[in-house]
Structures are given as C-alpha cells and as structure tokens.
C-alpha cells in the first residue's frame, strides 16, 4: 500500500462521514472561541433550540477586543464591553470554560492553547480566527473557521470541510545566524505569494524547521494562512514532546506514555506523495521586512523595494505606503514599533527583544509597545526581570491581548504613521485607519526601536 502523508492520516482518522459529492464531515477535538466571532453562533444554536453538543471540548478567552491597560477596570468602550460580557454570559449558560479578563490563564487564543497544553499532536483544532493554523506546529490539523462553522461545532462537534490538497514546503541547509523563524516564513510568503498555498494544507519539513523551538515553529505555522493555505503543520518530535510535558492539560503518567507512543507514529510515510512539493535553500534566507500591503510583499532588509511592473494593485500598495520603488528601506524613519500578536508575543520573543534593548534606550521618535501574548507570559517576563529592562529602554509593556495586531481596541497606529510590527498582516488600515505597517521579526523591531529607523539587528547580535 502506498504511504500516507501526516495530513492524510490525521484527516482520514477524523472523518465521520465521507462526502461523496461534497465536503467531508470532520470531527473536531478542540474548539477555541473568543468574544468577536462567537456571539452570533451562540444565538444561532439558541434560535434552533439545540444545546451545545460537547461543551467540555470548547475553551474560551477574551483577547481580540480587550484593552491592554487597566484590565482590572470595567471596559470603557460600550460595544467592546458588551461583547466581552456576552461571551461571559454565553459561556456560563452553555457550560464552557472561560479564561476571561482577570483570569491568570487569559491571553491570545493561539498563545494560550499551546501554553496550557490544550494543543496536542494528532488533534483537529478549530477556532473562529484564521491564525488557528498556529497550532499546526504540534502536528495537528488546525484551521480557522467562520461563525457559521463555529455554530456547526457547537451543535455537532463537527464541521463540513472539503479536504484540501497537500503541499510540502521543504527548507534544508544551514540558516544564517541572524535569521529567525519570522524571517523564514516572510521569505516563503514573498516567494510563493499570498495565494500560493490556496487550496492546500502545508506540511513544513526539513532541517530549517527541525532546528526551531516550539515558539519558532508556531510563528511559522501561524503565518501559513498568509500563503493562502488552509493551515500548516510540522511533524511532532522530541522538541514537541518536551514542550508539552508537564503543562496543565497535558496527559499525565500512564496516559502520557500511551499518548506519547501514538504521537511518535505521527510522521509522513517515506513513500507518501504530496500533491505539490516546493524546496528552498536555508542559506538563501536573510532578515526580512515587508514594504507593501499584503504579507507577500516582503524583501530582504538588505535588498531594494522592487520596481513598478504595470500591476495596478502593486502601485496602489506603494502609494498607500508612500514608499518608492527601487529604494532601500534601511534607514527609513519609523514612528511606532509593535511587538505582540499570536505570531510573536511569546516569552522567547520577549527575551530576544530584551537581549537587544538591555541597557539601551529607544530612539526619541519611536513609540514602542510590547504586548505579551498571555497573563502567564507577562508573569514569566516579570519573574525574569524583563519588564524592568523593557521599561528602562522606554518600551510600554502592556497587558495581554491582540492589541495593535488588528487595532479593534484603543491600540491604534495613527494615520500616515509607520509601524514596524511583529504581527502577521500589513493590510491597509489593519493597525488603525491609514496606518502603514512593515512586518518583521522581534529582533528587527527591537533594533529599529533603538535607532528610530529600519535597522537589521545584526549589529546587536553576538
């Protein structure tokens, strides 16, 4: 028998009913919800008069729309407050565990899942948020869904999904020392475009990914959605198992051994065939930054912005960004630096930033926000003394939430201002109406904050 890819194995083992002329009925192991995309789904099942089918398999948090200062006070903005209150009421009514504001487990939904050990290899995980792909770093099938699908999961613990094709993105060879996980994924999106993965589920393979920490793997899988892919995954290995062991929701004792034995089988068979394979050389990757209004518009910091090519959308993007073709971004003055979001707000990111800014000061023209991904990360940062380093360097250390990643709360980059951001999307207005976002790694963002202009971090790395 021909071998199977890891994706095929997991998908096939979760199919309840195979759709002959349409989508498969896929069983969902874990469902994560938040305040913005769940209220209409709760009212949907209530209107139908059906109960929440498996409330224990759903976990809720408040993240998208919460303030990142004074979280102990009632939310000032009325609509945001109502959304967060509605989540609380819905969770209580339907028996869903909620890590809301004030709870020590609260944080960005894709940060807390892994951190609490809820995310495990071999699972199917969904959430009404496209960056659910983050959880694929553990060798699970994880993808974002719309609110109608949230309602499907509420009602039946299943979603109807057409099985995507499989793609393998291989990166082998030696990475340059200054290259981070964020640079790898920005590089891949710049090569493959934001629709290069549409219709596919990606497996990342090769030494470049094997060498990454779990935090780095999450950064890569997080942005697989920016390739247009349904999701991305990395086969679990010892790094994965070590990360999970001992976490709150991780299996314990006998159960751990049983699970571990299963997780070790989660590999793509040697004879398995992907629908598509693309390969890159790790040595070609360098620190990256974006210049345009989609995540595929990225360049190596050392390179120039591409020339105009007659494409209207490309020209419109440069006009929006007020960036000229054929110029270097190096040295370009910047107004804001945002370190946060489910892409780069983990303890490893905070440590990397602290390493660079320790004993230094941010430039006077920069407003620097650093927003930990969760309460636990915030607590860990304080334990390690990172808070002092960051505050002394002139950074505003804020409280956990999505913050300026989508600027739904007060954390907005003003119109016309440039922000070097560790988040995942540089769409027009994403960080606030008229804001201009340049995506980069935490290291690049930290170095840029110190200099006041786009800077690659190499001089600060030893």
């Amino acid at each position: 028998m021909a071998g199977k890819t890891l994706f095929d194995k997991l998908w096939d083992s979760h199919v309840v009913i195979k759709g002959e002329q349409g989508p498969d009925m896929l069983y969902i192991d874990r469902h994560l919800i938040h305040e913005v995309t769940s209220p209409q789904a709760f009212s949907g099942i209530e209107k139908r008069g059906v109960p929440l089918f498996r409330p224990k398999q759903t976990i809720a948090t408040a993240d998208h729309n919460v303030p990142t200062v004074d979280q102990h006070l009632p939310i000032k903005e009325e609509l945001s407050r109502k959304q967060v209150q509605t989540l609380k009421a819905n969770c209580k009514k339907h028996g869903v565990e909620l890590y809301g504001l004030g709870n020590p487990n609260q944080g960005i939904v894709h940060v807390i899942g892994p951190e609490l050990g809820i995310t495990q290899p071999g699972m199917t995980i969904v959430c009404g948020d496209s960056h659910t792909s983050t959880h694929g770093a553990f060798g699970s099938i994880a993808f974002g869904i719309g609110t109608s699908e949230v309602e499907q999961v509420f009602a039946t613990q299943c979603v109807l999904q057409t099985k995507p094709k499989s793609m393998c993105i291989e990166v082998n060879g030696e990475l340059n020392k200054a290259v981070t996980a964020k640079d790898i994924i920005l590089y891949l999106i710049s090569k493959l475009s934001t629709s290069g993965g549409t219709g596919y589920f990606v497996e990342f393979a090769g030494s470049a990914f094997e060498g990454l920490s779990m935090e780095g793997r999450m950064t890569v899988c997080n942005m697989s959605i920016e390739l247009g892919a349904r999701g991305g995954m990395i086969a679990p290995d010892q790094t994965t198992f070590d990360y999970i062991q001992g976490r709150d929701f991780a299996p314990k004792k006998i159960e751990w051994n049983k699970k571990l034995a299963y997780w070790k089988t989660l590999v793509t068979d040697e004879e398995a065939k992907y629908d598509k394979v693309v390969s890159f050389d790790a040595a070609d990757i360098a620190p990256m930054i974006t210049f345009g209004t989609n995540p595929g518009m990225g360049i190596k910091i050392a390179d120039n912005v591409p020339s105009l090519n007659g494409d209207k959308s490309f020209k419109k993007a440069l006009e929006y960004m007020q960036i000229s073709p054929d110029t270097s971004l190096k040295g370009k003055p910047v107004d804001y630096v945002f370190i946060g979001s489910c892409t780069n707000s983990r303890i490893e990111d905070l440590r990397a930033v602290s390493n660079i800014v320790k004993g230094r000061k941010k430039a006077a023209n920069i407003t620097a926000w650093i927003v930990p991904g969760s309460k636990r990360i915030e607590a860990q940062a304080i334990k390690e003394g990172l808070d002092k380093i960051l505050i002394e360097a002139g950074f505003e250390l804020r409280q956990p939430g999505c913050s300026a990643c989508l600027a739904m709360n007060e954390d907005k980059v003003p119109e016309g201002k440039y922000c070097v951001s560790t988040s995942n999307r540089n769409f027009e207005g994403r960080q606030g109406p008229g804001s201009r976002t340049m995506l980069a790694s935490p290291e690049t963002a930290a170095a840029t904050a110190l200099k006041g202009f786009v800077t690659d971090a190499s001089e600060y790395l030893n």
Binding site: Q21, L79, S80, K82, G146, E149, A155, L160, R425, F427
Partner: protein
C-alpha cells in the same frame, strides 16, 4: 437561508487583486453581537473619506444597482471574519465573481447564500471590459455576459449547490447525522 437559482443583474466592478477581508469590513466595525447591519460599513475606508464623506471615485458609490460584485484575483484573503460575507449580503450582493477566491471566504460566502463564482482570468477581463449585465445560472452552472453572449461554466460542489438551490444550511445536514457522530466518538475519542 434564501434560495438561489438564477440572477440577472448589472455588475459593480472592483478591478483590484487581493481584496482582503479587512477592507471588506474593517476590524473596528466587528463589535456587534448580531449578524445584521454590517452593510453600512462595507468597504468603509474605500467608500468614505476619513471625514466621513462619500468617495465618489469608488465603484460602490458610482453604481448603486448591481447585485453582482466583480473583483480581481484572490478575493477575500486574510481574516476569517464571516462579517465580510454578512456585510456583502447586507449591502445587497448576491454573487461575487473573481478569478480566484481565498478558501475561508469562499466557505463563509456559501454558508450565507452568497454565491462565489470563479471564472478564468480571460473571462474576468471580458466582464470588466464589457461592463454589461451578467446572467448567473446556478442550476446549469453558467455565467453569461449578456451584451456579448460570452459564457463560461463554473464549478461548485454538488452538495453546496443542493444547499443553495433549496435554501438549506450545513447545520441541518450535520444535525441529521448525530447518531453517526456519537458512533464515531465511541470508537475514536
């Protein structure tokens, strides 16, 4: 969900690629807890100036009748917010035509009775050039430029077509299979 079989309508052309869901409905308008009322903020930052005035150059302000939005490739990329589909239907669109749709958007559209019609890049250009009314026939899976008679077939899964034609949604189908789900759980979970 409303039934969909056939539609003849003028088009609203949006000849841009990679129109993301943050443009379709910016995040700051996602604070509602209901599904209604998102149409008024559809393409908010393109439709209105920052002072709140109508931007007269923008297609939606020039053409007010079409129920078919025609856009460049990779329409609906980015965030999974279903609010994008709600905003389009609330505004009055019934069909979106593009040469390429982002996956999550496509699913969200179909779940809300908004038909995404994928056409070839050449056909898309012909639509933009002709600026004519279109006829979208779901039963026969055809899209026709009425002024020129040019026609193309489009794909849709038999299941989704059945849902749209009959105004059914996925939850009805899933709920009717609860026994199978329970059986699956006994063997697997």
């Amino acid at each position: 969900m409303e039934k969909f079989t056939k539609l003849i309508s003028p088009i609203v052309p949006l000849p841009l690629q990679n129109v993301d869901t943050d443009q379709i409905i910016p995040a700051r308008f996602l604070k509602s807890t209901s599904r209604e009322g998102f149409g008024k903020n559809l393409f908010r930052d393109w439709r209105f100036t920052k002072e709140g005035k109508k931007n007269n150059d923008f297609a939606l302000n020039k053409i007010t009748e079409g129920e078919i939005l025609v856009a460049g490739k990779n329409f609906g990329c980015g965030s999974s917010r279903e609010h994008a589909a709600w905003a389009l239907t609330d505004y009055g669109f019934k069909v979106v035509v593009s040469s390429f749709f982002a996956d999550i958007f496509k699913g969200n559209a179909l779940n809300n009775g908004l038909l995404p019609v994928r056409v070839s890049e050449e056909f898309l250009q012909s639509i933009f050039n002709s600026n004519s009314q279109l006829e979208v026939d779901l039963e026969n899976q055809t899209i026709k430029i009425l002024a020129t008679g040019q026609q193309e077939k489009f794909e849709i899964s038999a299941y989704k077509k059945h849902c749209l034609v009959n105004g059914l949604d996925d939850i009805d189908f899933l709920l009717s299979n609860k026994k199978e789900i329970e059986k699956f759980e006994l063997n697997n979970v």
